[in-house]
Point group: C2
Chain length 153, copies 2
């Protein structure tokens, strides 16, 4: 791996959109969006970000790595909780500023730090009583207790 | 709709993650990430962004609106091509910086400006011959010709 520049840059739009060269279009923070779905049932598990190193590590190892914006460092997803994500397939979008990972989740099969399978455990619904819109929980079964997994460290 | 501030802001993490109040956490550009999947078969169609106005318009109208970063304006998806997206369900993630739209697509049933159903029409694969990684097309059937739809305008 070329440590200084793992991926080429392509500014030509037709080449970026119609070519076979992986040339991720990192934003001004050096990140692309990563969308993670369950390889088995297609559930949207989480949305995260990758810098060039995280994407290269993911491609090389087959295990999802992201870039934590809050901690400003590489984040091997599931390293603490055991919920590692094995990448079954990875795709890129037309303008190469987003990747789609289809994964199998180890451990508790949970992708959310709240212990739930998916981070998207709340629907947005019209509710005049509670203001204009309210959130409705409909996958509210944590698969692990975050306090057991994270807070003793 | 309150034009100046359609959504409340919540900085308390437990309230943001465990509450029933929609309080999107817009980034420094005033955007959240919007992930759009096909309501019927779950395909990831596209990733885009919403400012507060786009999210409010989407929620009020039931038709997906985004914020175009390149054009810096509200973008009613499909307005030109006819591929409007009707929102069947909308969800928010744990920290409320991403929303998930499950949509039905009108017109050509295409979400990508290249004419394809999905923007994610290329897999990333290991390919030592073509450098380390190469892109492989596997949904390469445009449903409309972008030149007919966009370039005569």
């Amino acid at each position: 791996m070329n440590e200084t520049m793992p991926f080429p840059a392509i500014s030509d739009k037709p080449a970026l959109e119609s070519g076979t060269i992986l040339a991720p279009k990192f934003n001004r923070d050096g990140l692309v969006t990563a969308v993670v779905t369950d390889h088995e049932d297609g559930t949207l598990l989480m949305v995260a970000h990758m810098n060039d190193e995280a994407l290269a590590l993911t491609l090389e190892s087959g295990i999802a790595h992201f870039f934590s914006r809050s901690r400003q460092r590489i984040w091997k997803k599931g390293e603490t909780s055991g919920n590692l994500q094995t990448v079954e397939e990875i795709r890129v979008d037309c303008d190469q500023d987003a990747v789609w990972l289809k994964v199998s989740v180890a451990g508790h099969q949970a992708a959310c730090h709240t212990g739930r399978k998916s981070c998207f455990y709340r629907r947005i619904e019209k509710n005049e009583a509670a203001g204009r819109f309210a959130l409705v929980f409909d996958d509210d079964t944590p698969r692990f207790n975050p306090r057991d997994v994270y807070e003793t460290r």
